[in-house]
Assembly symmetry: none
DNA sequence: GTGGTCTAGACCACA
DNA sequence: GTGGTCTAGACCACG
């Protein structure tokens, strides 16, 4: 699990960390129950302040992606809530579709890209 | 074309304006070539500082969604660049897919949501 | 709205700030829609670091007690979600009742204290 | 007396132990004079470090809920100090009431929840 | 050892 | 002007 952070990006570092870990969980690179590096480790290996890493972990915890155990550090949440996409996710998906449409990308090309993204994710059971 | 802005949101106002106009273009509510309100009009009708509206228009122009004509104001760009999704869009799509997967949303449910979003967009030709 | 913070307490400062503001909202000392001091103001007047105040405000925002407007700072949320107590609140209430019972406080005395606390809160309509 | 501990919770484990024992005493599940398991037993049965259990017991003793006899281990204190709620308890009760009020919960609903919590406790005499 | 908290001071984005 | 982010280094509670 290597994180690539862009210090010059306008997206905050703690968000980049959060995004990459979510990507790792989604793709299966980080298995459910797997331990994440400690705050200090990640801070050192990325050259980022530990409070910034702390903020990313706190965000992931509040979003329900990870659990923070006082003894063993952070772990990927084993059994995430199953079900339907939340309104916020649907909103962002619509915006993405609108951008594609406004750029002249055909509906089929867009859906093909969706399929490509979905196939990179870990397969859960028969899904 | 009515804009709904949430002053308490953590997404910047100029981004909200930009997003809603992109949504309008994508869904067809704003037709290619259609004139947008002037910066001053939009600023007045929304109660937002005109510098903020200006920033949104400049962003839309730099992204290629609109054309700014000094005489006629802003218009929806008639023939946007056709083709494939850019890397930035693909990146955001992957993050969305990862969030869905990490939340336990099945691949099929995710793709169904994608189809739902795509169908809200204007049909161009046979797509 | 004066905050009294105990630097020697084991409850974190940002929590103390959060608690006192919640108390202010509950009792009506802070009216719905009323503006809170800015982060910097509160930091200065209390002698606390602004990041600590920031954390308290972020917590209050995430809990739905306040709204943060990029232009005007923080405001008490005008129309909080109405309804039933959440499970976390009920849990704490039970613990409180258990502590009282274990200390030999009679049920009636405990309920009397509850009534006393409730009567300090702002009256909403006929409640 | 079964303890349910959540290692991922942000409330310290020794506090969780303390809380559950207080709940047991308050509800009557643990009768006055009843013996508690030894530190070592409780540590083994819960998989928690014995220092942590020790801390919980020391806290319960300092709060007056239990008595620690070197020969017979810990016992629920038979005759707890009778009387009025202490200031710390009142403080937490007020905060609870304020949170309820700030969330739009009516005074009557709050008091109803108080009654519900009180009725779960053991009845002492006619109370 | 872990995460949680706090400071003092800085820079940036937004409006 | 506002809040948001980040740093470097420190201390503490927990286990």
């Amino acid at each position: 699990m290597i994180l690539r952070l862009d210090m010059a990006s306008d997206v905050p570092i703690y968000q980049q960390i959060r995004n990459q870990i979510v990507l790792g969980i989604g793709t299966g690179a980080l298995a459910p129950g797997e331990s994440l590096p400690t705050v200090r480790q990640l801070a050192e290996s990325t050259g980022v302040n530990s409070m910034t890493v702390n903020k990313a972990y706190a965000l992931l915890k509040s979003e329900g992606y990870i659990l923070i155990d006082r003894r063993n550090g952070a772990k990927v949440r084993p059994q995430p809530s199953d079900g339907v996409p939340g309104p916020e996710l649907l909103h962002r998906l619509e915006l993405l579709a609108a951008e594609a449409a406004a750029q002249g990308i055909s509906r089929e090309t867009f859906l093909s890209a969706c399929r490509g993204a979905a196939e990179k994710m870990r397969a859960k059971g028969g899904n």
